[in-house]
Every structure is written in C-alpha cells, then in structure tokens.
C-alpha cells in the first residue's frame, strides 16, 4: 500500500474494522500521519498480478459464494468479503487460499474479543459422548458459541463438556492449493483485491 492508500484509509476509515474515518483532521495533519506510518517497518503486501475478470469467473465456478458474500447475495458461513480488497493484502489472500487454517483472521465483529482468532474450529465432547464441532463465534470463561458446518449456532456451557479443545490449522474452508493452479489463484486474488474501497 502506498501513501495514497494510507491517506484514503485515514480519511475514510476501513469498513468492517474498528478503524474510523478521521474526517475532522486537516489535510496537512493527515499527511504527517501518512509520513509517519510509511516510515514504519512493514511486510511486503504484494501487488495483484492476476486477471480480476478471470478471477471473478473462478469465484463463480468454485462456488465461493456458498459461504461468502462479495458482490450481491452470498453465504454467511465465512466472512463477508465485500471489502476484502482494502482489508487484506494480496500476500495474505494468497496464503489464506492455500492454507486457510493457518491464516485465520483476528475477529473484528465483537469488540470484547476483537483480538482473538476468528473462525477457529473447536471440538467439544459433551458429557453424553456427543461430539460438536464448529467455528468459534464467541467464547468467555464459562461458555462457548460454535457455528457448525451447517451454519447452526451451538451454545455450550463449559461445565457440560468432557473435553473442549481447539483444532489449530483446521478450517471449514478447503485449501485451494490443489484445486486451483497458481495462475488461477493469482486471478482469484486479483478479483478479491478489487473488492471494496476505503469508506
């Protein structure tokens, strides 16, 4: 992301995150902040090199919309990707497509757990031996709420379980490493990178 991108994000905020729009700041101040941010160390975010039109077609054929929303209606098992282009770098998107379980985002939906890993899969063995597996929607010291693969919310009191443990590396989203070629992944990343603008 270049200085213009940083400027746009300060001015407009980033939808879906806690970053507000700093509309009251004067231009000179915003550019001073941009200079400071650009002076900080950062990972190479990468540049989208694929073809977004082809990527959009791959989105359709891979049925990404079963679980995600991008443009128009879509599923809600996975995150809404309508603004993913301003929220994730191309490197991050590529990593997630190849190995989603090891590239889970931090939750941004619930303020009190905004710093915890979102979409983490947990396996709960209830006292009657039944097993519930689902993505963590929320958790506190005594309860956990999981969304199972069918999208149902499962509310569990921790005293009801024999065992409750996360399954690191696991994700309900399949890896596309062997389903798509590197070129197709680049195209899909290019499409995703085109989604959304700083608001």
């Amino acid at each position: 992301m270049g200085p213009e991108g940083v400027y746009a994000r300060i001015r407009g905020g980033v939808i879906g995150t806690g970053m507000p729009a700093f509309t009251a700041l004067d231009d000179a101040t915003v550019w001073k902040i941009v200079d400071y941010v650009m002076s900080l160390g950062h990972e190479d975010a990468g540049v989208a090199t694929g073809d977004p039109q082809k990527g959009r077609a791959i989105w359709e054929t891979s049925q990404c919309g079963m679980c995600h929303t991008a443009e128009g209606p879509g599923g809600d098992l996975g995150p809404d990707l309508s603004h993913i282009g301003v929220q994730r770098s191309t490197v991050s998107l590529t990593n997630t497509l190849n190995d989603p379980g090891h590239n889970l985002p931090l939750d941004a939906g619930l303020q009190e757990r905004a710093t915890y890993t979102a979409y983490m899969v947990y396996r709960a063995v209830l006292k009657d031996g039944k097993v519930v597996e689902g993505m963590r929607v929320n958790e506190d010291s005594f309860t956990i709420q999981l969304r199972d693969a069918e999208g149902r919310l499962r509310s569990i009191q921790k005293f009801e379980v024999q065992k409750l443990e996360p399954e690191p590396g696991k994700s309900f989203m399949p890896s596309y490493k062997d389903k798509l070629t590197p070129v197709q992944i680049n195209d899909l990343v290019a499409y995703l990178s085109s989604l959304g603008e700083a608001q």
Binding site: E112, T115, Y116, T117, E139, D140, S141, F142
Partner: protein
C-alpha cells in the same frame, strides 16, 4: 492489643448471628468498630474489608454447598456513566457507592433504592493525565463519609443526608494531581494519597483531621535536596518523578503503621534522564500513622521503565515461617513477583514470580530483581512480559486465614514497549509519561486467571483460567468461596480450596470493580458490579 486479633491465622470461626434490623441504625462508625470488623462481618466497613486489606469475610451463610442457588435481589443503575470501579462500603443498612467521576450515592441495602446522592463540582478544565476519571470508593468514620474527588479535594459528607460538611484541597489539579482512590479512616485521621504521576509531579500521601480537614502531615514519596535518597535521581529529575500513591493501602493498628504502595517513576518509558534507583518509586512504604515519618521502604522495581506501579493493595497477616511467628505484609506486584516481607522491619522473607516474566533472572537474597540486559523500551519496540497493565493492576487480591491462600486476579500477557523522550513536560496532557508507550500482545495466548498462592511462600496451589481480560480482584469468604469476575461479564464463585467453579452468572458487561459481601436481616449478600450497574445476590 485487641485490634491485632483479626490478623491471627487459623482463628476459630464460630457461627455468626447476622444482624436483623428493619430500620437503619444511625450511621456512627467508631474506630473500635473498624478495629474489630471481623466480629461484625455484616458490614463491609473499609475499602479492603478490614485494615489488613484482606478482602476476607467471616460470613458463611453462602457457602460451597449452596452458592449455586444464588438469586438476583436488586440492581442499581448508576445515574452517572463512565468507568465504574467502586468498591462499596456497607454499614448500618446503608451502602455507599461512588459513581464516576466523583458522585457518592447512598443506597438502602435491602432494596437498592437511593437515599441520597452527592456530586462534586468539577472544573471544566479538569486534568486527568495517565488515569481514567473514576472513583474507587469512600471511607466512613463517625457519622461522616469521606471521599476524594477527581480534582484532588477531600470532602466530608453527612452519612445520613449527604450534606457536605467541609472540603479541602489535597493538591492542585492544574498541576495534574488527581485522585481516584478510596481514603482510609483510622483513629481520628483520614489518610489519602494521590495520582497523576504521568503529569510530571512529585508524589505524596497525606493525613487529615477527620473533624475539620486540617492537614496533619504529608510524606513526599520522592526525597528532595538534602534528604537521603535524592541521589537516586539524576539532576533535578526528582522534581517530576511521579511515584504517586494512587491506591488504598493497609494499616496495622498495633504497630500504628500504614502500608502504602507507590507508582512508577516518570517519564515512564525512558529512564535516561533519571539514572539511579529512583527512590521511593515502585515501592512499599511503611509510614508512622501519627507523624507521617517513613519507617522503612522496600523497592520492588528499581529504576523502573515499564509503568509497573507498585500500587497494588498490600495484605497483612500473621504466620509462622520456619518456626518463627512473623508479622507479614504480602504483595502481588504488577512486575509479576509475589513478595513476603516482615511488616515490622521491611525484611525480605521470600518472593517468586507468580506470572510469566522475561525481565529478570529472579530475585536476589534481599529481594532485589536480578535484571536481564536489554529489557528497556526501544524505539522499535521491545517485547517484555508482563505487559504495561501488569500481572495485576489496581484491583485487590484477597487472603483467607482459613486456607492460608492468597488469591490474585492474574494477567498473562506481554507487550512491546516503545521508548519516548527522556524528559517530561509537566502538566501537559499531550506528553503523558514522556511519550513512548506500548502495544499489547493480544490473541488467544493472552489470558487471565485467578491464582491461589500459598501466602507464606508464593507457591501456586491452583488456578482458574479465564477467557480474556479481568479487572476485578477477588473476595474470599469463610463459606469456602472466592468470588471474582471477568471483562466479558461473568461474575462467579470458586471453591477456595481447589479453584473449581461453583456458580456463575453473566452480568452483561465488563466487571471492573472488586466484589464485596455483607449481611442484613439475617441474609448474606454478595455484590457484583458490571458496566454501570450494582447487582446484589443472595440465597432464595
């Protein structure tokens, strides 16, 4: 002396007859009543429950066998919103709770209905540098309630009506002095410290005449020119070094000694211009209650650069260690170490880390930390455990003489510390702590836990892990329970012996206040505060 009776360990607890009063007695709390608070546990009469700050109640109607039957009795919604961190006082059928930034509300403990409310007039240009504008509670003595205001005044209120009797300035708020703590009432005196150390000032603690507010003594926590210890500050850095006294301490009436923790030195994250140990920052002070003279000090974190105040309330108890009866003051410090000191002499008895820390190789024979190299903040950020919020912060631990355990609401989290500039611009809210700062290491690896430590050794007996943060502190009871809460709104009770959860309720918002317990009309109540509400529970 009678007053020392409640310090005894393992004291036999007889069945308590809870007071049954339909009418509130006239509020008139004698010093003797506070001295013997253990014999009338229906009241919660000081900030820490007793002078020893043990936050232990002899009440046991609510116990391990029935705590899961607790029911909500009443809720009081604050009339003033903000960060709610008040630990109420309960006496003679009245609860005195403070609302942010400085409102005192008296509630009927049977119903939660307000009886009176008093709100401080505050300046529009109020300065609160490095602290939240809140209030953590009141003190009571005679028929007077004492509150310290956020703009650094001590105010005396009629306990029955809330009418203001007098108001004296403790410090100049324009110089960044601000107060959030509950004062302490001892024999004829009101003891109160102050905060605002990130504003570039010199810390102190005061005693005031309970009758008229006349100041009786002041002890500065940083020596000045000609006094021993000033050489531990480079140049004139002692003038702006902080070391405030922003949380309520403990008192031993037999030794007539106050025990009060001090805050970090300023500027917080750059010690280059204040080379030396920076006495008496990050220390526990033992103070003669009559004269304000320093009897001894123990510095937990010399030349501190991570904002690890030592303001955590110390706890007093007696115990036999290596065959010798000792008068102990113990503190779980923000710097991740638990300390056991002789409260007569200040001698270090033992200490050990009770939470993860990456800044020392342990403590030496005198309890001084053996620091690792390269632990200071850097411009790029230096990852150190514990975080700036500390292994514990301002919330109180508790001690049960029945179990001999010290219960501490512990945080396991690190932070990247960033170095600021070496000098501080006094009283400038835009130069808090001399720049610099920290970034917390968040994520699933960060957690909090109630930990039970053997009080005489610091050895961990059990822990109860919580998901997320906790700013509550603990309450221990003779019912074999430890109460705590978390920032996700769970208020809960643990078995004091093994840490097993026995009861919990979701209160719907973050809990940021120490739980207490009291009894009225033969019924024991426990108080949990979440968001902007006081919630009170009892058995059916």
């Amino acid at each position: 002396m009678k007053g020392a009776k409640y310090f005894l360990c393992g004291l036999a607890v007889t069945a308590l007859v809870l007071g049954s009063r339909v009418e509130s007695a006239a509020q008139n709390v004698t010093y003797d009543q506070i001295l013997h608070s253990a014999s009338h546990p229906e009241d919660w009469i000081t900030y820490g429950g007793n002078y020893a700050a043990q936050r232990f109640s002899e009440l046991k109607q609510i116990n391990k066998t029935n705590v899961d039957e607790l029911k909500l009795r009443w809720v009081y919604q604050l009339r003033r919103s903000g960060i709610f961190e008040s630990s109420p006082i309960v006496v003679d059928g009245m609860m005195y709770v403070t609302e942010p930034p400085t409102t005192v509300t008296a509630l009927d403990v049977r119903t939660g209905r307000p009886v009176w409310r008093w709100t401080a007039d505050l300046p529009k240009d109020l300065l609160t540098i490095g602290l939240f504008p809140t209030n953590r509670g009141v003190a009571i003595l005679g028929d007077t309630v004492y509150v310290a205001t956020i703009d650094a005044h001590l105010v005396a209120l009629d306990a029955k009506t809330g009418n203001m009797r007098w108001r004296v300035e403790i410090g100049d708020n324009k110089q960044a002095v601000a107060i959030t703590q509950a004062p302490m009432a001892i024999n004829g005196k009101i003891i109160v410290g102050m905060g605002g150390g990130e504003g570039g000032l010199r810390g102190f603690i005061d005693a005031y005449d309970a009758k008229d507010g006349q100041r009786l003594w002041r002890l500065y926590t940083i020596p000045t020119t000609g006094e021993p210890g000033v050489e531990t500050w480079e140049g004139d850095s002692y003038k702006y070094g902080g070391a405030t006294t922003w949380n309520t301490g403990a008192y031993d009436p037999e030794l007539n000694t106050l025990y009060w923790g001090t805050g970090n030195p300023a500027p917080d994250w750059n010690g280059d211009a204040r080379k030396g140990d920076n006495l008496y920052s990050c220390s526990l002070l033992a103070i003669d209650a009559d004269t304000g003279k320093l009897k001894w000090y123990f510095q937990f974190s010399p030349h501190e650069t991570h904002d690890w105040d030592a303001a955590e309330p110390p706890i007093l108890f007696d115990a036999t260690i290596n065959g010798k009866k000792r008068k102990i003051v113990a503190q779980a410090d923000r710097n991740a170490f638990y300390y056991v000191l002789d409260r007569v002499t200040g001698e270090f008895i033992t200490g050990k880390a009770y939470a993860n820390e990456t800044w020392t190789k342990g403590l030496d024979a005198k309890g001084r930390p053996i620091e690792l190299p390269n632990i200071d903040p850097t411009p790029q950020g230096n990852l150190i455990y514990p975080s700036i919020t500390g292994s514990v912060n301002w919330t109180s631990s508790s001690y049960s003489p029945l179990t001999g355990l010290f219960y501490v609401d512990t945080r396991e989290q690190g932070a990247y510390y960033y170095k600021g500039h070496p000098t501080i611009e006094p009283h400038n809210p835009n130069d808090t702590g001399g720049g610099g700062g920290q970034k917390l290491v968040n994520g699933d690896a960060a957690y909090t836990a109630v930990r039970a430590l053997e009080a005489t050794t610091g050895d961990r007996k059990w822990e109860f892990k919580m998901v997320g943060d906790s700013w509550t502190g603990t309450l221990a009871t003779a019912g074999g329970l430890v109460f705590c809460a978390d920032s996700q709104g769970n208020f809960f009770a643990l078995d004091a012996g093994d840490g097993k959860p026995l009861w919990n309720i979701q209160l719907g918002n973050s809990v940021r206040a120490n739980p207490i317990t009291y009894a009225v009309d033969g019924k024991q109540y426990v108080v949990g505060e979440a968001g902007n509400a006081v919630s009170v529970f009892s058995l059916p």
